[in-house]
Structures are given as structure tokens and as C-alpha cells.
Assembly symmetry: C2
Homo-oligomer: 226 residues x 2
């Protein structure tokens, strides 16, 4: 098995059947030793982080596949902390698709002049480019096309899938009395050029509250899966 | 005549006929004594700046009115550095509509990972909110509606007018062998609720080159009007 990529929170191996294996690690992103899913650097190692992330990812991807959402997920092996996925290429150098139900985080930093913290948003979708140096800026459908990252047709699909997936996850969390504030997803193109959900879906992808209490991402598997 | 607003580069007086008078000042925006149209603070006073800005503004607004573009312009008095305009309210706490023909400035800072400096752009329009603290961030049509700043209908009109106006100005500059790289415009609602062009159009609103040479905004009246 050839390691083809070493990431912040997981490594990627090429399998003989043409698929890929994601190996989840116990490293989490953060800064100055504090866990922060929004951070771009690896901050610390936390025992059980890889396990927690994979369990949630398995849960969400299997649910989404059942609902007919196209994803890269094939199966996973909790014991070995690995997940098998089909081949897919990220868009450009990587995009994030965000769905927002509450005004927090970067949305509040940008538009705080017009909106109060935690105001309801109608599942508002936006796309950002992954570029640490530029601060992961949002990008419009027109610019995505101008820069040759996604076609308008693909962008439309990205928006639709992001909203559909986020609504499903919001609903599943709500059944456990948990409220989804926002969530970020990653998409790519499979070999046939279809837009599919890639990467993982774990606590680090979303902000979740129970009433006024912020739920630490590593507590999510316990609250959701037990 | 009552002064109703004191701005960075002009003051506003209320006239008895219900219109307003803009009084152009010789202050220009900049930082550390260097003129920079993109700056939000008043940097220095330059003799003739008010005069140059008003002359260009008169030229462009009269041209646009002739072409059927709705603006707040009534007339102007070069000697007294004043311009009479009809009443109009800015959108929210102020928007800027930008039209880009070349990748420079904040577009390049945001998307430099995907595009080289000075690459052609197809008259790409984007809207930013005026908020010094937040760095005047771009905003999507959906967010403009969510935040109650403009309706989708108004935003569509903003995009159309911005493109039409910018194309006219680009064409006029091209006749003098000058190239428009980008331009920022301001719009508001008149008493009937129509979207109209407001504020001024002077060298500080646009980046202009002749070949590889950047044209200082204060040189524009001399190059364009003589």
C-alpha cells in the first residue's frame, strides 16, 4: 500500500483495487494547544480523536448514502481507524462549502454591522477557497467559473448538495436535542466527473449547541451514537 | 443652508428646494501622507484635489445622464466646487459596487492562488459593504437580502447598472488611450425607491493605466478633459 498524501488529521493510501484508504490520526487542528476546528494548523494530539472522527464519519456517510446523496464512501474499519473511498479529485486546490443556520464565526466577523450573533439564517450556503494565507475567502459562482475552478453547472450542484446534506444532518442532530449552527463540507469530482461529497464529516466540521451550551466536537459521538 | 454631513472628501448641505449640495474639499484619502484612493482615512490635503474630482465627476455624470443612466446629478458649479444632487439614501450603511477588468487589488489578494496579477477579467461585478473594521468584505445577493440591505430585485439592478456604467467609462477612457482596470461606484434609492448612481466619479474611484504606466488619479482630468 502506497502512502500518497500525508494530511493534518489523516493520511491517504492507494489501494490495489483503484480505491483509496484514509487513515484517521489522533492529531487535531488548533492553536497554542487549544483544539479549534477552524484552525489550519495541527495544534495537538488527543487520544481517541481519530476514533471519534471516524465513528461520526461512518455514521453520517452511511446515512447520506442511504438517502441517495453521492459520496466517496465505500466502507470503514473502526478498529484500524481506516475508511475506504472511491477516487475523487478536489476542485482546484480545494474548496469548502458552508451551510449556515446561525450567524456566528466568519459570517459574523464579516457582516456583524448588520446582524447580531446567533441570529437565525435560512440554511445559507457559501463556498470558500482553501488558502490559509488569504484567510480562506468566500468566492462567488461567477469567480469560480472565471478562475476555472468549477463550472456554473457544477456550482449549482455544489449549492444544492450542500443544502440537502446539511438539512439531513441538522435533522438528525435535532432528534438528539442538538442544534446545528453551521457546517463545512468538501466536494470533488469522481472519475466520471460527477460532483460527490468527499473527505470526512465529524465534529470538527460543524458547530453544535444544546440550548446555550457549545458542544465540544469530541463529545458528539457519545451524544449522537449511543 | 444647513450642513447635514461632513465627509472625508466632501461636505453635504441641504438646499431649500429639497435637493442637496455637495461641497468638494481638497482633502484626499491616504495613509502616512501618501495618497491612496483605497484608504478609509483622510491622509492629506492636496491643492486642486477638490477641483479635479468635481471636474471629472461633472464630466462622467453628464455623460451618463445623456446615456439614460439614472443618477442623483442635477448640475454643478466648478468655481465654488459644489454639485447639486437630488435626495437619495444609501443602501444600508453604504455599499460599494465594483467592476473589474483586470485582476488587481483585493481581488488578487483573495484569489491570487488561481490568477496572475493583471489577468483580464470580463467586467466582473461584485458588491462590498462599507465597514472599515471588517475590511469592506464582499457580499452575495443572498446575504444582501438576508441582512435586509437590498432586495434581490434591487441587487439585480445594481449589477446591471454597475456593468453598464463601467463599460461606458472604460470606452471613454480607451478613446484617450487609457485602460480601466477597475472602478467602484455607489448607489442609493431616490424618493420613489428607484436605484440611482450617487456620490462622485473621480480618479479616486478607479485604477487607470496607460500601457504599463499607472496613472495618478489627479492627472486624469488633464488627460481626459483637455
Amino acid at each position: 500500500m502506497k502512502k500518497v498524501y500525508e494530511g493534518k488529521t489523516k493520511d491517504v493510501y492507494e489501494l490495489e483495487n483503484g480505491n483509496y484508504e484514509l487513515k484517521f490520526k489522533d492529531t487535531v487542528t488548533g492553536k497554542d494547544g487549544v483544539f479549534d476546528p477552524g484552525e489550519n494548523q495541527v495544534g495537538l494530539t488527543m487520544d481517541g480523536a481519530g476514533d471519534a472522527n471516524l465513528k461520526l464519519t461512518k455514521f453520517f456517510f452511511e446515512l447520506l448514502n442511504k438517502r441517495g446523496i453521492p459520496t466517496h464512501y465505500v466502507n470503514c474499519d473502526i478498529e484500524n481507524k481506516t475508511m475506504e473511498v472511491i477516487a475523487a479529485k478536489p476542485f482546484g486546490k480545494g474548496l469548502e462549502a458552508i451551510c449556515r443556520y446561525k450567524a456566528v464565526g466568519s459570517y459574523l466577523r464579516r457582516y456583524g454591522l448588520y446582524i447580531k450573533e446567533k441570529t437565525d439564517l435560512p440554511g445559507f450556503v457559501e463556498i470558500t477557497i482553501k488558502d490559509d494565507k488569504a484567510g480562506d475567502p468566500p468566492i462567488s459562482p461567477e469567480s469560480l467559473e472565471i478562475l476555472g475552478i468549477t463550472s456554473l453547472e457544477e456550482t449549482k450542484m455544489l449549492y444544492k448538495l450542500t443544502k440537502d446534506i446539511s438539512d439531513i444532518i441538522k435533522e438528525v442532530l435535532a432528534e438528539k436535542d442538538l442544534e446545528l449552527y453551521d457546517i463545512k463540507l468538501e466536494f470533488g469530482r469522481d472519475k466520471e466527473g460527477n460532483v460527490i461529497l468527499i473527505d470526512e464529516i465529524s465534529g470538527g466540521n460543524m458547530r453544535v449547541y444544546r440550548g446555550d451550551e457549545y458542544i465540544d466536537p469530541l463529545r458528539l459521538p457519545g451524544l449522537l451514537l449511543d
